[in-house]
Symmetry: C2
Subunit: 142 residues, 2 copies
DNA sequence: CCAATATCAAGAACTATTCTAAATTGGTTT
DNA sequence: AAACCAATTTAGAATAGTTCTTGATATTGG
């Protein structure tokens, strides 16, 4: 289910630098936490988890690190409604299915070869650079 | 471009009650503002506009009214990233195209007859009750 | 008309996030 | 290794949007 082609595993050595971003101790740990449990944690979730490795890290630093990772395309920031932002290390294009009964968020991918204009009435001349798709519902028990 | 089959026009008399929600003076005016300019205003935008008709209305009341309208399915609340919520009177299923260069938000509809599973790899047994789709980009000048 | 209920208004409170300023760190040059 | 400089981290203050609280006001049903 997890795409190991686009995202390193948590055991992988995280290099000194990724996409031009120097990996400080804090950034490395924040990133490692994201790779570890792919459950779309909030900044505060990350803060709590990263404290094991770096007890003196501050929440502001977690925000800083997440912002740096996002801006360098290493991590994706995901917003559901007006809830706290969530973060995931899967930067491949994908949407989310939010299971209302369990709260679990599943990544969903587009079928290969589909085109936005295949199923959407887009304004004439629209050039789409960014897609945000969230589905909500339940995982029916078949 | 505006769907007059699912949304009343601003000139239409707004009835005493919609979908079980009593239309107070404040709710009526808030709703009228939303019908007037379909530009996805924020709560504060609505507040500023509605003051013409009701100079003593408070921002809290605008929030209350919008919440009541949303909860009764009369109005839709739309969130882009972590910006202020926006509100639109088009409750038919639709997504949004956010033009980055002008800031204008265009409603986009699904082509008739398309199915989510036609273009998405959904988790097995997923029952989708709610779709949120936002595209960002530019309206190329062709 | 009166009581019960719903709604409104004003401002305080709350939450997630960003900002600020000072301290620390890391890498580089001497 | 010491000095230097820029980048980063930290802690707490500030901010923005929204929600909550409380008392006032309006509306409905009896």
């Amino acid at each position: 289910m997890v795409d190991n082609l686009t995202v390193p595993s948590p055991e992988t050595e995280i290099p000194e630098e990724i996409s031009g971003l120097r990996m400080t101790r804090q950034r490395r740990e924040v990133y490692r936490i994201l790779l570890q449990d792919r459950d779309h944690p909030t900044a505060n979730d990350v803060f709590l988890r990263v404290k094991d490795a770096l007890p003196s890290i501050s929440l502001a630093t977690v925000y800083n690190c997440l912002e740096a990772l996002v801006q360098h395309g290493i991590v994706r920031q995901v917003n559901f409604e007006r809830e706290s932002s969530r973060f995931c290390p899967n930067v491949a294009e994908h949407g989310h299915f939010h299971d209302r009964s369990t709260g679990v968020i599943h990544d969903i991918t587009f079928k290969p070869g589909v085109n936005l204009s295949d199923f959407l009435e887009l304004p004439a001349g629209a050039v789409v650079t960014d897609i945000e798709l969230t589905l909500r519902g339940q995982l029916g028990s078949i």
